[in-house]
């Protein structure tokens, strides 16, 4: 038994499996295993060749190594590689900007860069590192590893996964282009109002950068829905949440936080884009526009700290187990602490606003919640430390990085507690203390993820990196890191975001600049090591790490296209790969050795699996398996890029005169056509994704994947609309609630629209009932009525808006009109999106669709009713009260 009472099953591996990473014997010499098991594969493990990694028969997927494969792939492993490589590119991009800043700070005052260029470098460095590098880097691993760890062939919606990547890539490209449109955004990565408004950042490039971030958030939302559906619905039999590997646990919690936090950021960015493009006045209204931005941004921003850090924590937990040979001490408490932090993260955001004019009571409350959130982290840190004490450490490169990350995180965490105290924050806010603190936390997280890169590199490439170079990289990295960031604590009186500072602090800044170059140079070693090892590295084998416990180490390196040689099951306490007819033949809750089921279990490949693997291949060979290729996600990404690049030229509710205006308007039109056409192409494509039955699906048992995905998306939409309505409430409270006059003079048009939407909801219900009864005429009539009512709603709204415009009430007139037009406009856009879907469904219904399977109508109804519900609140708020 382990120290926390969990059984440690023995491996079925032979003595060879007991050798460690560098060829030496296992360090603790025992047969007990960390995290309930040991990952080995029998030597006769067969790689499914039919859907192999480099064949042409992967259902249209070009062979591995061809560029074309990466343009069309929807396979989670390929997408993972794309994320990792692209994120590393953005690491270089953001890193170069950081080096430019450090060169500027060699001495106080203006030097290498102009003031504007410095501001851009500061802002875009922050944006790139937080958004375009850190999370996507972590989600490269998540894409690659999570399906393997949970026993899934792919994510629930493979094309949406590819779409998430291409939207991310398009958003990054858009950000890069922004530098060539006058100037990129220069208002800081937090984009505080009013610096984010055209008055202070008037360049087209600033708008482009904001639209790029908006597109990035759309990508994140799509990804969140996909991951949550996958992790909750598609776990292998017996893999309950309690047994979930720790890296997957961290990704699960990360994605839940992303779903809700990024919805608030999406609302903030939509409003900001409207302020810049359409002239609304949310963030420029004098009673609190800048406070409103701060609330919306930090409601997202503080969970974002954990969104960035949790995957790093997952890598730390996994590697600590593997390289100490010990199951994580206090594992369940470690998980409980993470759950607690994920919940608490939404209740601490105002500690970023202690220097604003929010009242003292709320500051005190948020000081308490902030101190409270540090407590679960204490438990996690002690858990990791105690795991090291109980185990026997092997100092290989991945562990060095994750151990280093723990040290850096402790420093970052302790220095952050100061900022959680209101009085101390008055002193430290806006200084380099904050800069040093969050770099110790955030780049501390990067340190663990670099450890993850070394850890999973052999799995992803099949090659082993050079251990000596890895260790040199760590030494240079760790020295460079501390040389760069620790002097910032000592020079803490330096004001943030500006290049001027008291001359007495010059030595510390020069030390930091030297550290920055050492840190940057260390990455050259990494890139050389990993690139050279790809061509000349030793074969890594299926599992180069003794005591690794998770399922990815049971399959070949790199894994085959559909991951497993059979259906993964943990019912026996170990992972087994079964044929279809064996699923129910597995034991009923106890391990083969009579012990309890373990979390993750002993990862082995049974003889059965090997025997049945060929059958699995045959299925794939005959083309009855899943598809792995689609061009449409890339096409949508291209369309979105062109569309938003064009939209960036739309300033103050119009395109500029002359060539520039024509150019941007043309791009907008082309982009809209490309995006719309590609979306249509996506819907017309025959694509087979992973299908059930799956093993564990708690808490969404019995709710199939698409339906689960729709509901998760709607939960995110609740926060989006909630943030819009919350902004309206905030502004109205700031201006005096009762004295606020509704923009429409008469509630009647709103009431008529309420009737129309309610009736349309009823008609969708009737369409579903008709489909259940097999009545084609009923389905067509009901859907037709829904569409007619939806169009009626839009026409009525159009007439109402037209009258208001004639009265001189425009979006830009005042904050009352801004909130009215934008919030109800967002709702109208939802109605339009619903109508497009309904029209598409109607054309299919006329050809007899949905009579055998009415679920698409039910899922459309979920969305349409949600739009109805939103209106049920918008109507009284904007027309009556």
């Amino acid at each position: 038994m382990t120290t926390d009472g969990q059984p440690m099953n023995d491996s079925t591996g032979d003595d060879e499996a007991k050798t460690t990473d560098d060829g030496s014997r296992r360090t603790d010499g025992r047969h007990t295993k960390a995290d309930g098991g040991h990952a080995t594969t029998d030597s006769e493990f067969a790689t499914p060749s039919g859907a192999g990694t480099d064949t042409e028969d992967g259902h249209g997927l070009p062979p591995l190594g061809s560029v074309r494969r990466y343009l069309v792939t929807t396979n989670h492993k390929d997408v993972g590689v794309l994320y990792i490589v692209t994120a590393l590119f953005f690491l270089i991009f953001g890193g170069v900007l950081a080096l430019l800043m450090r060169l500027q700070l060699w001495t106080a005052g203006q030097g290498l860069l102009s003031a504007g260029a410095y501001n851009q470098a500061v802002s875009i460095h922050g944006l790139i590192m937080v958004f375009w590098f850190l999370s996507p880097f972590a989600f490269g691993f998540a894409n690659y590893i999570v399906p393997l760890q949970i026993g899934a062939k792919d994510l629930a919606f493979p094309r949406l996964n590819a779409l998430s990547y291409w939207l991310y890539a398009a958003s990054g490209l858009l950000l890069g282009v922004s530098f060539f449109q006058g100037a990129s955004f220069a208002g800081g990565w937090t984009m505080y109002a009013p610096l984010d408004l055209p008055m202070y950042t008037p360049e087209v490039g600033s708008t482009t950068a904001i639209l790029a971030l908006l597109l990035f958030v759309v990508s994140i939302t799509v990804s969140s829905v996909n991951f949550l559906t996958t992790m909750h619905r598609m776990r292998a039999e017996g893999l309950t949440l309690r047994r979930l590997p720790l890296f997957t646990w961290t990704i699960l919690l990360t994605v839940w936080m992303m779903l809700f936090a990024f919805a608030a950021l999406l609302a903030a960015l939509m409003i900001l884009s409207s302020d810049r493009l359409l002239g609304t006045t949310y963030f420029s209204f004098t009673e609190g526009g800048s406070l409103l931005w701060a609330h919306l941004f930090w409601f997202f921003g503080h969970p974002e700290v954990y969104i960035v850090f949790f995957p790093a924590l997952g890598v730390m937990a996994e590697t600590f187990q593997t390289f100490t040979g010990r199951r994580l001490v206090g594992r369940k408490w470690f998980i409980a602490s993470m759950v607690l932090v994920a919940l608490q993260s939404f209740g601490v955001w105002m500690h970023h606003m202690f220097l604003t004019s929010i009242n003292l009571q709320v500051k005190t409350l948020f000081m308490a919640t902030t101190i409270g959130i540090s407590l679960p982290f204490d438990l996690m840190v002690f858990s990791l430390i105690y795991t090291m004490i109980k185990g026997r450490i092997r100092f290989v490169t991945p562990f060095l990085f994750t151990f280093g990350a723990l040290v850096l995180f402790i420093v970052g965490g302790i220095t952050g507690v100061f900022l959680g105290a209101v009085v101390l924050d008055y002193e430290f806010r806006g200084t380099y203390w904050v800069v040093a603190h969050f770099h110790y936390v955030m780049v501390g997280g990067v340190t663990a993820l670099i450890g993850g890169l070394y850890y999973w590199y052999p799995k992803i490439t099949g090659k082993m990196y050079d251990e000596f170079l890895g260790k040199v990289h760590f030494a240079a990295y760790f020295v460079g890191f501390n040389l760069l960031y620790f002097p910032m604590f000592l020079a803490w009186e330096t004001p943030r975001r500006v290049f001027d500072y008291p001359p007495g602090l010059t030595p510390w800044h020069q030390l930091a600049t030297i550290g920055a170059f050492v840190l940057g140079a260390s990455f050259l070693l990494m890139f050389y090591n990993l690139t050279a090892s790809l061509f000349t590295g030793e074969e890594a084998g299926d599992n180069p790490w003794a005591y690794s416990t998770t399922a990815e180490w049971t399959v070949p390196s790199p894994p085959p296209l559909e991951n497993f040689p059979g259906i993964p099951s943990y019912r026996s306490g170990s992972i087994d790969f079964l044929a279809e007819d064996e699923r129910s033949a597995i034991g009923s809750g106890t391990a083969a050795d009579g012990g309890e089921l373990t979390d993750g279990g002993v990862a082995t490949v049974s003889d059965q699996a090997t025997d049945h693997a060929p059958g699995h291949e045959r299925i794939t060979d005959e083309g009855e398996g899943e598809d792995h290729a689609s061009i449409w996600p890339l096409a949508i990404g291209v369309g979105a890029f062109v569309l938003l690049l064009g939209a960036s030229g739309f300033q103050g509710a119009s395109f500029p005169d002359g060539f520039a205006g024509t150019f941007y308007a043309g791009l907008t039109g082309i982009g809209a056509l490309l995006t719309g056409g590609s979306l249509f192409g996506l819907t017309r494509e025959r694509f087979t994704g992973p299908s059930g039955p799956f093993g564990e699906s708690w808490p969404f048992d019995g709710i199939e994947n698409v339906k689960t995905g729709v509901w998760i998306f709607l939960a995110s939409d609740v926060v989006l609309f909630g943030a819009f309505i919350g902004s309206y409430v905030f502004i109205r409270v700031a201006q005096g609630w009762v004295g606020w006059e509704p923009v429409p003079h008469d509630p009647l048009p709103g009431l008529v629209n309420t009737y129309l939407l309610l009736t349309s909801s009823f008609s969708v219900v009737l369409a579903m009932v008709a489909a259940e009864k097999g009545s084609k005429r009923g389905v067509v009539a009901s859907l037709g009525l829904t569409i007619a009512l939806g169009i009626g709603f839009l026409l009525n709204k159009g007439i109402e808006w037209q009258e208001l415009f004639h009265e001189g009430l425009l979006l830009s007139t005042n904050v009352r009109t801004s909130t009215f037009f934008l919030t109800t406009g967002l709702h109208a856009l939802h109605v339009i999106a619903g109508l497009v879907i309904a029209i598409y469904m109607l054309t299919r219904a006329t050809r007899g669709a949905y009579l055998e399977d009415e679920r698409p109508i039910e899922y459309f109804g979920l969305y349409w009713h949600f739009v109805d519900i939103v209106w049920l609140f918008l109507f009284p708020l904007f027309y009556i009260l």
Partner: protein, 89 residues
Amino acid sequence: MASTKLYAAIYVVLFAFATLQVAVEELGFLGEAYWVAFGAIIVLSFLKALVVAGYYQHLRYEPRSLSYLILTGLLAALALTVAASYSIT
């Protein structure tokens, strides 16, 4: 699942509630006792939303996890709205 009759009855109730909300304003209650009328109108909106979610979206017949999922989103939005608005009072 609900019957067509029940769906129709719900539709009628929703229609009536929407009318009632406007009636509260038209009859001058907002002018006389603003916050009481405000409460009544918002409660009516929540009731309508509950009925649509419960019956038209079938949440009443689905596993509770879906209801909790949506309630979590609602709670997050309410926390933001209430705390942000309170912070400037």
